[in-house]
Symmetry: C2
Subunit: 154 residues, 2 copies
Amino acid sequence: MTELDHSGPSVLPEPVTGFAGSAAGRDIFTIRDLTKEFAVSARTLRFYEEKGLLDPARRGEQRLYSRRDRARLAYVIAGKTVGFSLEEVREMLDLYDLGDGQVTQLKVALTKFGQRIERLERQKADIDRIVAELTRASDAMKEKLAAREHADQA
Amino acid sequence: MTELDHSGPSVLPEPVTGFAGSAAGRDIFTIRDLTKEFAVSARTLRFYEEKGLLDPARRGEQRLYSRRDRARLAYVIAGKTVGFSLEEVREMLDLYDLGDGQVTQLKVALTKFGQRIERLERQKADIDRIVAELTRASDAMKEKLAAREHADQA
DNA sequence: TGCTATCTTTACGTTTACGTAAACTAGATG
DNA sequence: CATCTAGTTTACGTAAACGTAAAGATAGCA
């Protein structure tokens, strides 16, 4: 199994602030919980923590992940699947933790958000073009197939 | 300049078959032409060739890129920006060069195309979710800003 | 002819995002 | 109590996607 799965349900179950909190499941998750839910390795979760993307609590040595950690993890995975580096994802997540900063910082954050959104919109356009291309090629192949099968029957 | 630009015009100027051919510009491009047009290094183009993504002709030692090469390069870049690895992009491009293969191969190709398209659609959904998140957070910040400035005037 | 600019191959270096192995600890279970 | 089972830290390994430096070939030009 060398290729990642990515067939699971799409990510972002709730806002990354994790303040909504009144949803269904638990409020605390073990490392195994998250590896199973998101199909990532424990190593990956520790690595994300090392990089400042997650910051789980501890019970002795064990890591305990909050809803907020879980939401952030979902955000990291979503960001990755659409082409952001971990560093870029961290920058975006940091913007959330800025909520009560200085006015200047808020303005900077707003600008960055805007840039991210624009970039994502461009990516969507790229995806649309590639899908169109693939669909075109796909249709062409289908016609060839049909032609062959027709010939086989004659 | 550690981060890539990505502000240029979106890619895919023409179908990757490169058979359309009747567009505007030239029919032959030097390595410099392509580095400038697509904002990639010469090293990158040679690397892509080494990996079987491009296959330019030669005039002596110099590489000469055709419209088809150029179209394929555009496809590679588009594929990369939406999260495909070079290997995956190569697989997709190979499907195009299969046009006259066996019926079985055509069917395999069709299946793969379908999977690619599905994956891209999922990615689009992810992007939409992230954009929605970013927009929400952005709006929240704007409100905070407005509140502060209002307070400053009072 | 000598210089410069551009291209080439070869090869080692670098960053990102983890994998994997070793050695240790703590709690559960027969 | 011994032995799993999960978890932990530390550290080296690796694949992808190039960057970068070295050294040589070629073409244009003053």
